[in-house]
């Protein structure tokens, strides 16, 4: 997994609460058996005026110019500013894959849905929870300032605003370490394979009906 230490990038808004994973990447694109290539269909139903299909030439499709990501000022954005309960709905990891493939490195919101939040960390994407008031103020600042950029420092757990103000954020110690070092989580777990085997051996004795039936 790619690491995340420090990132400076342009911010783009998605100004609605409860953005669900169907909205992030509609179901017709889930039939792919790959992890990459979802970026052009990120927010497909909001972004384009026609109905999207897999294997389409997306550059030929009519754009919804009211949608933030289609506006020239947000071109190349790598930090997404969002509202409450971002990523609710399904467990599809295609949602963080699409955000990553588009070029986002971090998402800032007052709250995230659990499974989506978890999935982000597996893909080098940093979800940052800030208070609703702070997120409101960021939306205002973003609306007023073209080319609005933020610096995110994971090591220091802070976001530096253009005026130099620093906002701190909380993050789980395990996830932080994984992101900073770009750790292979499976490899990390398998370092405990003796503990897993020992547990399994005892568990098999205690609950034999759970084994060897399928």
């Amino acid at each position: 997994m790619k690491s995340f230490k420090q990132h400076t990038g342009l911010v783009a808004p998605i100004d609605r609460a409860n953005v669900d994973t169907d909205m992030i990447i509609p179901k017709q694109f889930l039939k792919s058996i790959k992890r990459s290539g979802f970026g052009p269909n990120l927010f497909d139903e909001l972004r384009y005026l026609d109905e999207g299909h897999p294997d389409q030439d997306n550059s030929q499709r009519p754009l919804n110019m009211d949608f933030s990501l289609n506006q020239p000022r947000f071109k190349g954005a790598s930090i997404l500013l969002a509202r409450e309960n971002f990523g609710c709905g399904s467990s599809r990891e295609h949602a963080p894959w699409a955000l990553d493939d588009y070029g986002f490195r971090a998402i800032i919101a007052p709250s995230f849905a659990d499974i989506f939040y978890n999935n982000c960390f597996k893909n080098g994407l940093l979800p940052i929870v800030l208070s609703k008031d702070i997120v409101d103020s960021l939306f205002l600042a973003l609306a007023e300032n073209e080319g609005y950029e933020l610096l995110i420092d994971l090591e220091q757990q802070c976001i530096v605003l253009p005026d130099g103000t620093s906002l701190s954020f909380e993050i789980d110690a395990f996830y932080k370490q994984c992101l900073l070092e770009g750790l292979d989580e499976i490899g990390l777990t398998l370092q405990d394979k003796e503990s897993i085997s020992a547990f399994e051996q005892q568990w098999r004795k205690d609950s034999p009906w759970l084994f060897d039936v399928l």
Binding site: K31, E45, F199, S207, W209
Partner: protein, 478 residues
């Protein structure tokens, strides 16, 4: 000392290692796989040169994008007309074969929606930890199991290590005491709970459903309730083990027998929250207060009793709710103050991991019997949750009731719940659906989903608009 909740017990019994950073390794007993969220996980295993840790913990089936028409199904995988879906279904078969994983293939007798076949086959049991790359995995919590959805990276992680890196959630009790009125179902209960909690109210919690209403509810009903825990933000929903659970599990294909059954039962009988257990949050509703529900908006929390009027966003104090409701009414093509019973339906979908079990089909058939689909309804899809449910329904001749009413009797799969196959809504079409999500575009680009229970869906199909199903029932008794 405070007692333990059901969730505490299940967590503790599966804890391999508590790490200093607060994360933990949790042992996984059962891993369910399907075609959509597994291919990248198998690919990851291959690239890293890893093997599954414990083959017999895994069970796979094809459900999300299999076709549901009998003609298209009959030709097997080669006949799946959508080439991208065909590759995905074939890839699951290939991966299961290559890694030696048990699979119910598309046309096998055990095939069905993954959350229907797990309990049905006894492949998911009380006291297990169950995961699947699907957010509706909480369904299996109805058995007194700790079950939740995971992403594809975690699918790979569980395949490789039989463990999940997890953090303990908080405990929430949703207590519904009293009795449900006639015609009020498990779906209405869970929709009413979601209306109360909100779509994110359960975030970070494991929910246990307790109280009189759940104690007397069938296993099918409990599955419907636990299935939708995620629509309130909670990854986990659970119901304590009781005699109803044990009666359901006994005799299932993969359930223990003989002496092992006795041992298992002794263990399972401890799977309830202690009397002095402390919950971090408690939500209480009364069964008598719950009416048949209909969702009017684009989030499962936007739901009201069928007798209600479409709400007026201007009357909402919370600006986030107001904006959400305004957007929802515009998307749904509804006006504030309009009775829900005035909403005309274009299509009706009865199926999904929420409501496609035999009890659901019986409830829908009871309403459809001797009636005809209303003229304005273009299509009514009845999609059984599994091959076994389909066979049972046909043995009871429920299929004939549906066909006589002008409805379509289909092959098992996820179908129009998420519209990955050809079963979907056209733009602007209203659908009474027994599924779990009414998000924008969920059932087809521009489609308008209204979540209801199976009897309410059947009632909408035969009248052409929403109606309190109890009105049709009272006609029958009169």
């Amino acid at each position: 000392m405070a007692g333990k909740t059901l969730y505490d017990k299940l967590w503790d019994s599966h804890l391999v290692k508590q790490r200093e950073d607060g994360s933990a390794l949790l042992y996984i007993d059962r891993h369910l796989l399907h075609e959509v969220t597994s291919p990248q996980a198998f690919e990851g295993l291959r690239l890293a040169g890893r093997k599954p840790w414990r083959i017999d913990a895994n069970l796979a089936t094809a459900d999300h994008n299999v076709p549901t028409t009998t003609s298209e199904r009959a030709g097997g995988i080669a006949a799946i007309s959508d080439s991208v879906a065909r590759i995905q279904v074939q890839t699951l078969d290939d991966n299961c074969e290559a890694f030696g994983i048990s699979e119910y293939k598309m046309n096998d007798a055990g095939q069905g929606i993954v959350h229907v076949i797990g309990p049905e086959q006894g492949a998911t049991l009380p006291g297990m930890t169950v995961v699947c790359g699907d957010s509706h995995t909480a369904t299996h919590g109805a058995l007194g199991a700790l079950a939740h959805g995971i992403g594809t990276s975690e699918v790979e992680h569980v395949l490789a290590s039989q463990c999940l890196v997890a953090k303990k959630m908080k405990n929430m009790l949703v207590r519904v005491d009293g009795e449900l009125g006639i015609g009020v179902t498990a779906k209405d209960v869970v929709l009413a709970v979601i209306a109360r909690l909100g779509t994110a109210g359960g975030t970070g919690y494991a929910i246990e459903f307790g109280g009189d209403v759940f104690r007397t509810m069938s296993m099918e009903g409990r599955m419907t309730v636990c299935n939708m825990a995620i629509e309130a933000g909670a990854r986990v929903g659970m119901v304590a083990v009781d005699d109803i659970t044990l009666d359901y599990v006994k005799g299932r294909k993969f359930a223990p027998t003989g002496e092992l059954w006795e041992r298992a039962v002794a263990n399972w009988q401890t799977l309830h929250s202690d009397d002095n257990a402390v919950f971090d949050a408690v939500i209480e509703l009364r069964g008598e207060d719950i009416q048949p529900q209909v969702s009017w908006g684009t989030s499962p929390e936007m739901v009201l009793p069928v007798s209600a009027l479409v709400p007026d966003p201007e009357q909402m104090d919370d600006p986030v709710k107001r904006e959400g409701a305004t957007r929802a009414l515009s998307y749904m093509g509804l006006k504030a103050g309009q009775p829900l019973t005035d909403i005309k339906l274009d299509r009706v979908f009865i199926g999904s991991c929420t409501n496609s079990r035999i009890e659901d089909l019986r409830a829908a058939a009871a309403v459809a019997r001797g009636r005809k689909v209303a003229a304005n309804v273009k299509q009514v899809l009845i999609v059984p949750g599994s091959q076994a449910v389909k066979a049972q329904a046909e043995a009871e001749q429920l299929d004939q009731i549906f066909i006589d009413a002008g409805m379509e009797w289909r092959e098992p799969g996820c179908s129009m719940c998420l519209a990955m196959n050809a079963d979907k809504l056209g733009a602007g079409e209203h659908c009474a659906s027994t599924s779990n999500r009414n998000f924008e575009g969920r059932q087809g680009n521009g489609g308008r989903t209204h979540l209801v229970g199976p009897a309410m869906a059947a009632a909408a199909a035969v009248t052409g608009h929403f109606v309190d199903v109890r009105e049709l029932m009272s006609n029958e008794t009169a």
